[in-house]
Point group: C2
Amino acid sequence: MGERFPRYAYEDFTVGSEWSLGSKIVSAEEIIDFASQFDPQPFHLDEAAGKASILGGLAASGWHTVSMFMRMLCDAYLLDSTSQGAPGVDFVKWKYPVLAGDTLTGKTTILDQRLSKSKPSLGFVKMHHDVFNQNGVLVCELEHTAMFSVREPSTA
Amino acid sequence: MGERFPRYAYEDFTVGSEWSLGSKIVSAEEIIDFASQFDPQPFHLDEAAGKASILGGLAASGWHTVSMFMRMLCDAYLLDSTSQGAPGVDFVKWKYPVLAGDTLTGKTTILDQRLSKSKPSLGFVKMHHDVFNQNGVLVCELEHTAMFSVREPSTA
């Protein structure tokens, strides 16, 4: 296959623009599989323990929620972009439990963009992300600054 | 089995105390398995793509790194504590690539602790976490505030 320039570059992430994420159904099996590997607390492993906890049911680990969000981001635009990764996350807030059977959706809102001073082919994009459940309840929000290559480097 | 009170409660997380995390060997298979599910960018899926990227080799997704850290935290003290979860994360910084074959270690340092005003059986513990590779290089740091039940509620 020949090289194809990605669909989305730094220039496309204009301040105020919104980017819809696709939906993701969360199964009990996936919650238990993730928790068994990475976060084996009882309310992430067992329906009865989840119901007895403040979470109210078999609930996804917060790290599972952000990992599912990452896949939604990849599928929505990141894999067809000039993404150069991200050095970290400014914050994550887990606002509401993600339970087995939930359907997640989400959106990205662009807060800021600026070109790198030292490397003019690169830009920084500050993003706010919201993840909702099937009832429109905000379950998770996070912000981070991502790096994207520009489509057309300035000749200035 | 009878109920046993957990080994660690709010009172144990004194300011300045350090908590060692165990070690975790990161396999190529685990990196690819996580990335296939949650972060299918080429440098997380393929050794050659990783070598060609800024990461320098087959590299774990940043979300995989924090998920492995979470398991280290669970095994070190969280599963035998009065943990009541956490509402979020203040920040995550991915400082250095985590590559296939690396061995991760880490520690928690307690920054602050305070009792809940509204619920005296609960306390908030602010934690800083460092994750290192086998060469002592800091690969990831993060901070969050966790909730723990107290061992002996105040009668004041």
